[in-house]
Symmetry: C2
Subunit: 323 residues, 2 copies
């Protein structure tokens, strides 16, 4: 038995932020934003909506057509960089609100690679624990809450979203075939939120300063993406004993659709194999990959590559045969 994705459902909050709005915030022409990011719209959660609220809406949608499968959830892993609280975990809150019995729950912090790291972790838990039936793997982020509204590098790119997936066992030959995860902690300063944790706790001084918001060194992130993502994809594809041409669907973290288009082009991948819902949602952090999965038109036997990078820097790639 291997591990597959048995279902996926996404949620985007209703408030749409278009390039006219972002352009006004960052003092740039809307076309300039579209050209550099490939993004037309993002969605922002309302002020009273937290990461768990969006995650619960995605979970409700996931089980709407199979309510009996809630009882199969033995563990909940939630990837996020914007938890409801430092503690308790957002996964525990979702577990409680969704009535998931005593399924053990934890948040996994690996930024935009959070879903892929969580999926591989779920696969390992399932492999090592025969009594565990299914793992509910969620990616959810309300990144809008840590954006500095006039910062072009971040506000043009990020939005909010959540997506939930049923991860469970599939017959041999299907599911996860190969994967690789890496971290380059020496580049931990490329993307982050300087204040608000134990390094620089928020106080009356820091709360009004720039450092409570996300900082991103866009060029360094792009260079890292261009260097690492193709290499990891080639690595997992080779390990799976297939060629790049054999892959039917590429599920990329929607870091920046324009950067993604350049990468796909450089790698010689057919754009028709690469859904880019980020055009209408922006970069939704850990929600980005499962949001792509929630709309993926894959059929049994199709080969699917997932690939992510995120703050840390973290990165990973995986090959699945869709079940």
């Amino acid at each position: 038995m291997s591990t597959g994705i048995l279902g996926a459902a996404g949620y985007l909050p209703p408030r749409v932020i278009d390039n006219d709005q972002v352009g006004a915030w960052v003092d740039r022409d809307p076309d300039w934003i579209l050209e550099r990011t490939g993004i037309k719209e993002r969605h922002y959660a309302a002020p009273e909506v937290s990461t768990s609220d969006m995650a619960c809406l995605a979970v409700e949608k996931l089980y709407a057509s199979c309510p009996e499968k809630r009882a199969s959830v033995g563990a909940v892993i939630l990837g996020t960089s914007t938890p409801d609280h430092n503690f308790p975990s957002t996964a525990a809150i979702v577990q409680g609100r969704m009535g998931l019995g005593r399924a053990f729950a934890f948040d996994l912090s690996a930024a935009c690679s959070g879903y892929l790291f969580s999926f591989v972790t779920a696969h390992s838990l399932l492999s090592a624990n025969p009594a565990l039936e299914e793992v509910l793997v969620i990616g959810a982020d309300t990144i809008s809450k840590v954006l500095y509204q006039s910062d072009r590098k971040t506000v043009t790119v990020f939005g909010d979203g959540a997506a939930a997936t049923r991860v469970g066992r599939v017959p041999d030959g299907y599911g996860l075939l190969t994967h690789t995860l890496i971290t380059d902690g020496c580049h931990a300063d490329y993307v982050g939120q300087p204040a608000g944790g134990s390094r620089r706790p928020l106080d009356a001084t820091t709360v009004n300063a720039r450092e409570r918001y996300m900082v991103m060194h866009g060029r360094k992130v792009r260079e890292y993406f261009e260097e690492v993502v193709p290499k990891l994809i080639h690595e997992v594809v080779e390990q799976a004993g297939v060629s790049l041409d054999d892959i039917d669907h590429f599920v990329f973290h929607q870091a920046n659709p324009q950067m993604l288009a350049d990468c796909i082009n450089a790698m010689g991948i057919d754009p028709a194999k690469c859904p880019v819902p980020g055009v209408l949602s922006g970069n939704t952090g850990a929600a980005s990959i499962p949001l792509v999965l929630s709309e993926l038109r894959a059929e049994r036997g199709d080969l699917v590559v997932m690939a992510a990078i995120g703050s840390g820097m973290t990165a990973g790639a995986a090959v699945l045969r869709w079940y």
Copy 2:
């Protein structure tokens, strides 16, 4: 092959907070504090010291006697409720500063159960991924930074600390024999930090309010502890096919040494089998269990029980045969 703890090292920051100091903060007699908590001292990190700083000192100590084992680290899992930042993860920062190549790294958020959840996750990663040699599993928290200084319920109990463990394969019959992890998310309000995340982001109003600090419903936590921890221990001991009397060492999360003494007494466990370093460190969150491990005088073949509860509520227990 199973999974064992191959080494452990702890770090407590040098600043000691005794009951005279805490008594002055919370307006109580020092003896009143000792009687209710069993704690004599806690250690607080300096203002400029973050969770990753303490974690790195524990990691340095862990590999001081076996520097060649750093190269065996394929993954880093860090349990914490007080990360340096919301992103990047504290694990990534430690990975980078300790020069651990491209070992993949993530934080795991399960509060005071964070180490036990991380250990079981490491076991699963090792079981499912033969190429993974060792996992560096860390518990680290600077809880002093989220304490409200006049709150008797929390300031009397918590302190700062970090501990790091080498987790790897051991011969059959040794290492992790049985485990159980649970979450009761319906009790997510028992312990937490209300503001500072996506539920109530810190702003100029909330930063000076009580809600940016930890809140704990002490009685509910005690009732949960008394109900759940003995049950989980009996469960894993029975699963392991041994009796409670066969266990040589009990490694408890040091939630509150006085509460622990009551629990040990009620369960009929010999106190000599239960090291309680929490008397001199308080409740150090996710660091608490690996700090006990770092001082454990276990010999090959000894049976060891680990048991934890934490915000979430999360809880778990495990039986290991020490290698």
